[in-house]
Symmetry: none
Subunit: 118 residues, 4 copies
DNA sequence: GTGGTCTAGACCACC
DNA sequence: GTGGTCTAGACCACA
């Protein structure tokens, strides 16, 4: 795993974790790696992992049992999906429509591109 | 105009200027505001405006006449459009398709949203 | 029973036990569950239950018979009540009055809320 | 300022800042101390102050202008008050009622205590 | 100058 | 063993 992109590492870790959960690599109510373990696996400071876990816990995607570690929340997949969909509908889609309007691209063209790349 | 978003202010200013040019608010070979004027209008440090003008000059969207100020390049609109279109086709569109596939959204849905927001 | 709050689990267990005693679920001189049994019921490590029993024993709310287990003290209810009442009058009530003053809430409002939740 | 209580320092700092705002020591749209300055004033690491500011920003009590610092949000006082009131009504008040019921204390008694301490 | 991120290392409570 | 907090110090982008 590489962390050289523009985004902050702790953000990339939240995405990494959500990906694991979506793919069922880490399952509901199952334990996820400790901050120390994931830190050494990803070659990152445990504090940085902690920061990612903190955010995921606020979003109720994972939860904590004292002294035992972090666990995948029961409806983690649902929360992740809805978070992503919300982000897409509210932010990315309007930007997308705005861009194609400015560039003078019609939805027909988009549909054509879509079929081509399938 | 607000500058509290995630993007750097100087980037937002380049976009602001390109917008003005595309909308013919600022026309070819016409003078654009001085860094001081635009700075005070946007409530931003002139240095920050200068940084934006610098970038636009490198892209040959505006040019400078010593002692007179900055002016819109002759083919500024063409350059902006092609820059954006290239960015859009090469980067944003594939990402967009990728995202809707991941979220399980069909092009039919996208078309529906598009009609709604018109 | 959930143990995800901020308070330490062993503290929550002492409160759980005192609750049982006050409600007469566990009666004077009656045996209370072994640390193993209560531990498995509450899905908690027996050591953690032991720590709670230790504290309750110091406060003479329960007592121990070698090889037999823990039992509810004769005047357990009285001890619990007086502990709580003292705590309440000395600490919680002044804090409570302080808070409602800060928030600008009158005792009339409090009385209204009280009637509503009955 | 002392930070010896049980609560985490960064929590105490959020409370410290909210107090300042409520008392109009720090006013709407006014700049608040930089993380470095407040850190050295409170004899605390700037990171710890940053963590507090982060939380206050999430709650939209303060906002950030890039490179300039943090500023008090326009309706910061309103947000703080409603946060506190919500916390009180939802959490503390039900606990309070629960406690007095368990201890067999009537609202009349509470009212009497209230009048006495005025 | 400002915040934002990250590391290394420490100490603590809790299980 | 686990997370939670905190410090010291570093580097970066931005204004």
């Amino acid at each position: 795993m590489q962390f050289k992109g523009e985004k902050a590492i702790y953000i990339q870790i939240t995405e990494f974790v959500m990906e694991k959960i979506l793919k069922d690599d880490w399952q509901a109510d199952g334990k996820i790696p400790s901050v120390r373990d994931l830190g050494s696996e990803l070659e990152v400071n445990p504090n940085t992992v902690m920061r990612a876990y903190d955010i995921l816990q606020q979003q109720e995607i994972i939860y904590n049992k004292r002294g035992l570690g972090f666990f995948v929340a029961n409806d983690a997949q649902r929360i992740i999906s809805s978070l992503r969909k919300k982000q897409f509908i509210d932010v990315e889609l309007p930007q997308f429509f705005n861009t194609i309007n400015l560039l003078g691209i019609s939805m027909e063209e988009i549909n054509t591109y879509y079929l081509k790349q399938q």
